[in-house]
């Protein structure tokens, strides 16, 4: 399997764990990722909240570059995934809009290649195949799989059910971990509002953490840098501001797949989290 890889702007900074672990896991499983040469930002929420044509065109440039290679695109970041997939979906069904966007980018895009998320790519490796590759099972590790919004909504691009998804739980079960039943799988963490209106995000994230803890999770897994930032980094702030004592490590799901399949823990960047991951690392690495 070979894909065009879209790392997204946070790949070296706030989401370095996701980029590093995705690359390492794919390498381990023999999934080839070829970075889209000279990619640009997908525009994220800032673009689609400001100008529809701009948002589509920023994403379309990346998709056009990937299309030249003839490969399906995989985006690690869930926000990038949503923007690229929405652009592809809208342009695929609307030849006039596609022509308009192409006249903006100056690149001939035909919306032929699929856009996939990282959970889909790992899942496409196959449940049995993945299970066969697990040599350090995460036995007894209780995880709360958190999807947030961007992978399951809107419906046109969802990778799984919008209210009751399973894809991450399935992957985690292959790795020997034990997913818990909880209620906040697909509740919003507030994403970018964390910068502009942090108090709102405190409440949303505190609710998510509280439910995960109440249902016995040892940790949360996610597949989105925005979710990770809010759940991990802001957890310390929430403890301070809301007088809570949360201590839930938050992993990218690829980090745990990496541990289970025997990837060198050093390349999974387990030490750059804000909530200490040592206990889990000691037990499973």
């Amino acid at each position: 399997m070979k894909f065009s890889y879209y790392p997204g702007c946070c790949y070296e900074t706030s989401a370095r764990e996701y980029d590093m672990s995705s690359q390492a896991v794919c390498k381990k499983l023999g999934i080839e990722l070829e970075e889209i040469e000279d990619w640009n930002c997908c525009g994220s929420t800032a673009a689609h909240s400001t100008n529809h044509l701009l948002a589509l065109s920023l994403s379309a440039r990346n998709l056009a570059l990937a299309e030249q290679k003839g490969l399906d695109v995989v985006a690690a970041c869930a926000a990038c995934y949503q923007r690229l997939a929405v652009a592809r979906h809208e342009l695929n069904g609307d030849p006039d809009l596609l022509a308009r966007v192409n006249s903006v980018t100056g690149l001939p895009y035909t919306a032929s290649q699929r856009v996939l998320s990282m959970p889909e790519v790992i899942a496409s490796y196959g449940v049995d195949n993945l299970r066969a590759r697990v040599n350090k099972p995460l036995t007894g590790l209780k995880i709360a799989a958190y999807y947030g919004c961007l992978l399951v909504r809107p419906r046109s691009i969802q990778i799984d059910d919008e209210e009751n998804p399973h894809i991450l739980e399935q992957i985690m079960e292959c790795c020997g971990a034990q997913p818990v039943d909880w209620h906040y799988q697909t509740e919003c963490c507030g994403a970018g509002l964390g910068i502009s209106n942090e108090d709102i995000v405190f409440k949303l994230v505190a609710d998510i953490l509280e439910d995960a803890a109440a249902n016995g999770a040892d940790c949360i897994i996610c597949a989105c840098p925005l979710c990770h930032f809010n759940l991990d980094l802001r957890q310390a702030k929430i403890n301070k501001k809301l007088k809570q004592k949360f201590n839930l490590p938050v992993f990218y799901f690829t980090q745990l797949v990496g541990l289970a399949t025997g990837v060198n823990p050093a390349v999974l960047s387990l030490h750059t989290h804000f909530i200490n991951t040592k206990t889990i690392k000691r037990k499973y690495a």
Binding site: C9, C10, E12, T13, S14, R16, D38, W39, N40, C41, G43, S44, T45, A46, A47, H48, S49, T50, N51, H52, L53, L54, S57, L58, R61, R100, S103, V104, T105, G106, L107, C149, R153, P154, R155, E162, E163, T186, E187, C188, G190, A191, G192, L193, I195, S196, N197, E198, D199, I200, K203, L204, L233, A236, K237, T272, H273, F274
Partner: protein, 190 residues
């Protein structure tokens, strides 16, 4: 019987038509069940709940719809959209309202201004580098929002984990990125 001002009615219809066109959504379909508001994670902090924003649009109440902070606080999580029994993608309607309000510089409350400023800074980074430069975008946001030390703790946390990069990573073919911004502006002004 009270008099009906036909000019106002016409304006109302223009607004309904504009939002329907820009969002691509059948706004008339909403029958005010309130499911969107019930499931909205941000509703607690909005001045007008989502179903009422929708009603304002249906009634053509341009001023009230475009000046509430709800349209800026909507996080586009799309929970409303997938639960709507009439298949109205309300997140898309909120997006359209934000776009119209943004063009008319209507973000007035502190909450709305901060979202708008964040978005503007984010886009400035793309315009200049093709990519988001987190450090510069955050610093500029703090300076422009008049709270230079806001999120300083976040910045320090990030720095301590090697998550802040000062070096700017640019898209090499910046002419293509610049063309996108220029062409969009050109087409919109036509």
């Amino acid at each position: 019987m009270s008099a009906i001002n036909l000019t106002t009615t016409l304006k109302h219809e223009q607004f309904i038509e504009q939002v329907s066109r820009e969002s691509g959504q059948p706004v008339q379909q909403c029958y005010q069940c309130g499911k969107c508001t019930a499931g909205c994670p941000i509703a607690f902090s909005m001045d007008v709940p989502p179903n009422r924003v929708m009603r304002m649009v249906q009634l053509g109440l341009r001023e009230t719809a475009l000046s509430c902070n709800s349209i800026w606080l909507c996080a586009y999580c799309s929970t409303c959209s997938v639960r709507c029994p009439k298949n109205v993608n309300l997140a898309q309607v909120m997006d359209a309202l934000r776009i119209i309000a943004g063009k008319e510089k209507r973000a007035k409350t502190a909450r709305a201004r901060h979202v708008e400023l964040f978005n503007r800074n984010f886009l400035n980074s793309i315009r200049r580098y093709g990519r988001l430069h987190e450090f510069e975008t955050m610093t500029m946001y703090n300076l422009k929002s008049g709270q230079p030390f806001k999120n300083a703790d976040t910045g320090l946390y990030m720095l301590s984990r090697g998550k802040l990069k000062f070096l700017i990573q640019k898209t090499s073919q910046m002419d293509q990125v610049k063309q996108i911004f220029a062409r969009v502006k050109e087409l919109e002004e036509k």
